[in-house]
Symmetry: C2
Subunit: 80 residues, 2 copies
């Protein structure tokens, strides 16, 4: 079973990496760029066919390792 995990910085937390990329885009002539926020996109393959189990495990993985829930939000989608 495949999952897609999205980890994003919480709305009220500063994103210096995003600000740097926004500045670089402005320097390259993309003046219309009003905001950039950078997060992570992870593809995880699980050796299980049990959807409920996969969801429970993904939630636990996100809480324990994949996201820092103090400053980041996460969500995931299961495929197939």
């Amino acid at each position: 079973m495949k999952a897609k995990v999205y980890v994003t910085i919480k709305e009220n937390v500063l994103d210096p990496q995003g600000n740097a990329v926004q500045g670089a885009l402005h320097s390259l002539g993309f003046g219309e760029v009003a905001k950039v926020r950078i997060g992570k996109f992870m593809e995880v393959e699980l050796d299980t066919a049990d959807r409920g189990q996969a969801e429970r495990q993904l939630k636990e993985m996100c809480e324990k390792l994949l996201a820092n829930t103090v400053v980041e939000d996460y969500r995931f989608e299961l495929e197939g």
Copy 2:
């Protein structure tokens, strides 16, 4: 106009960060994790209402800065 940009490592390119995360997940007891690939997820706000222009600009931004097209693929979605 808001866009979501996904940058992923090409299928035939090694992903040491993904392998490290997979190893860490195994150490935490998630033995079912068969594969992890890590990419980037970017939210970009553009000060334009012209969808065609936004698409052209996003493509150019990805080619020039957001993705390294030698080893990474990208795709984006425009909202609203």
